[in-house]
């Protein structure tokens, strides 16, 4: 046994003992939650068996979690509950007496088509289902993006460059509006693909990048606060809920 292995085993022993003490004092689940929290934090040092354990457990549990949520939350009320309502009676009594809706066979069939992918011969059938999903959302997205991201942005950018308010001419707001307008224009110039960024056009694109960079820096700096809050939340869980060291 090498020295490194020995250290690993000793460390493991210590973890087991601490875990046992904590279970005795705090109960299994709180201890387990704290253990998993620490296991994930240990990734900051390096990959290690504790992180691997937490990661693999998380992957398995979460995959099943969403399967169950999808089944009880969507399949039961929206598929079975509409195909053959008496079937879901024991779970959702409110739906029991609804008329059945044969149209819901279509998604069931499409879903089964999708699963045909698992067969090597009939795999191509799954594309029909895929085409349906992609087609629906593509059509939906086309209009949605055009309206909310394109037309609406014009309407909010079309603001007066010369601002007056109750106190008369407002220099601050005027400057802000001019900067916004020029910023949007230059940003758009940057996104031109079929024109070389040269001369005046290139200058515009460069100004666009400047605005983008300031924005990225600002958003980055702004997000720090939220992330620190999350960390504080985890620390509070460890120090307070688990160890009871605060207040």
């Amino acid at each position: 046994m090498t020295r490194r292995q020995l250290a690993t085993y000793i460390f493991f022993g210590v973890v087991v003992i601490l875990f046992a003490i904590s279970v005795a004092l705090k109960g299994f689940f709180v201890t387990f939650g704290a253990f998993l929290t620490l296991a994930i934090f240990s990734f900051l040092y390096d990959d290690n068996p504790y992180y691997k354990f937490a990661e693999h457990l998380f992957v398995g549990v979460s995959a099943a979690y969403w399967m169950c949520m999808g089944f009880w939350g969507t399949m039961v009320p929206n598929l079975f509950g509409r195909l053959y309502p008496p079937m879901v009676g024991p779970v959702i009594p409110a739906l029991k007496d609804n008329p059945s809706d044969p149209f819901m066979l279509i998604p069931l069939i499409l879903g089964i088509m999708l699963l045909m992918r698992l067969s090597s011969k009939a795999g191509w059938i799954s594309r029909w289902a895929l085409a349906f999903v992609v087609g629906t959302t593509a059509g939906l997205n086309l209009v949605r993006y055009l309206r909310s991201d394109f037309i609406q942005q014009i309407s909010s950018t079309a603001m007066p460059l010369y601002v007056t308010n109750s106190a008369g001419f407002s220099l601050g707001e005027t400057i802000s509006n001019i900067v916004i307008f020029i910023g949007v224009m230059c940003g758009l110039i940057y996104f031109f693909f079929s024109k070389e960024h040269k001369g005046a056009f290139g200058a515009g694109a460069r100004a666009g990048v400047i605005v983008l960079m300031i924005t990225f820096g600002a958003s980055f700096g702004y997000t720090v606060m939220a992330r620190i809050s999350l960390l504080v939340g985890r620390m509070q869980y460890l120090l307070d809920s688990w160890l009871g060291m605060i207040g």
Binding site: L44, Y45, V209, L212, M213, Y222, T223, V224, M225, A226, I228, S229, L230, L231, V232, G233, R234, M235, Q236, L239, M245, I246, G247
Partner: protein
């Protein structure tokens, strides 16, 4: 890079590629130590938070306040302090508090406020008379639209499945219009925006909000015409707590979650700023020696 080459590097060069675990350690200390010593930092209340505070302060005794928990465990550290401060304030004002959730994850968080703030600090308040937990109902913005006209169809029981008519405080509640103030905490979807769109605007009900720091800039435009006030992130919570302490001096020495969060925030920010400045100093020393590398995100 071989070990031999490593040794030849100057101190400055090695510092430039400092092991990131050292930075991690600094951040951890910056967050943990303030928590352990229980330090608090007062924040001057800004107008948008003061407006929220004044609105609650102006509510007469017995006013009905609806608190909607529209967030999950991941953003709870940021949101919970403001919920606690506001619930405390409402309890001081002797308002009736109705807690509900448009987010499934908010369901359990309502219990946390009741156990963490109301039960220990306001033992006189009675469940069903002064506050009630209505729990989560599915439907997102559809739920809001529905309860604007008809409250009791959706909420026939409270979160513990007890019939709503058993509670005296539910007597005259037929629609959202019966509330004097609605406060949504969260700022995601559905959240404050949906409360404004589907309840505040059509029902002409005052809406207040508390949201994460990241979500706040998107909501500022609604103040003051559609939002009576907005608390943004830990800072918003600390500002609200400050206003609370000014109005109720008995909380002067009370542990306030938002204010202690602000200490960790400030220290962590200073640590990061320090590292950025430090990195740049190293960079300029190296540049003077002509040993630098270019490149950033592909944008030049």
């Amino acid at each position: 890079m071989t070990n031999g080459a490593m040794k030849k590097q100057s101190l400055v060069e090695r510092l430039q590629y400092i092991d990131r675990r050292i930075i991690f350690a600094f951040i951890a200390v910056a967050v943990i130590v303030p928590l352990l010593i229980g330090a608090q930092l007062k924040e001057k209340t800004t107008p948008i938070v003061q407006a929220m505070f004044d609105n609650v302060e102006g509510l007469p005794e017995g006013s009905r306040v609806l608190l909607s928990y529209d967030y999950g465990p991941t953003t709870a550290p940021e949101i919970q302090p403001m919920v606690d401060a506001m619930v405390r304030h409402c309890a001081e004002r002797k308002c009736k508090m109705y807690m509900m959730a448009v987010w499934a994850t908010g369901h359990n968080l309502t219990g946390e406020t009741i156990e963490g703030v109301l039960r220990p600090d306001f033992p006189d308040l009675e469940y069903g008379v002064d506050f009630i937990n209505l729990g989560y109902k599915a439907g997102n913005q559809g739920l809001i639209r529905l309860i604007l006209v008809d409250f009791k169809t959706m909420y026939s029981t409270d979160a513990n499945n007890i019939a709503i008519d058993d509670f005296p405080m539910m007597e005259n509640i037929t629609s959202l219009r019966n509330f004097d103030l609605i406060v949504s905490f969260g700022g995601g979807f559905p959240g404050i925006k949906e409360w404004i769109q589907f309840a505040g605007d059509p029902g002409n009900i005052p809406i207040g909000g508390g949201c994460t720091a990241v979500g706040a800039p998107n909501l500022y435009p609604y103040y003051p015409s559609q939002l009576v006030g907005l608390l943004g992130g830990a800072k918003g919570a600390a500002e609200y707590e400050n206003a609370l302490i000014i109005a109720y001096p008995k909380y002067e020495d009370y542990p306030m979650a938002g204010m202690s969060l602000m200490v960790s925030q400030t220290v962590a920010h200073i640590v990061i700023i320090f590292f950025i400045v430090f990195g740049n100093v190293l960079y300029f020393i190296l540049r003077a020696r002509g040993m630098t590398k270019e490149g950033l995100g592909g944008v030049r």
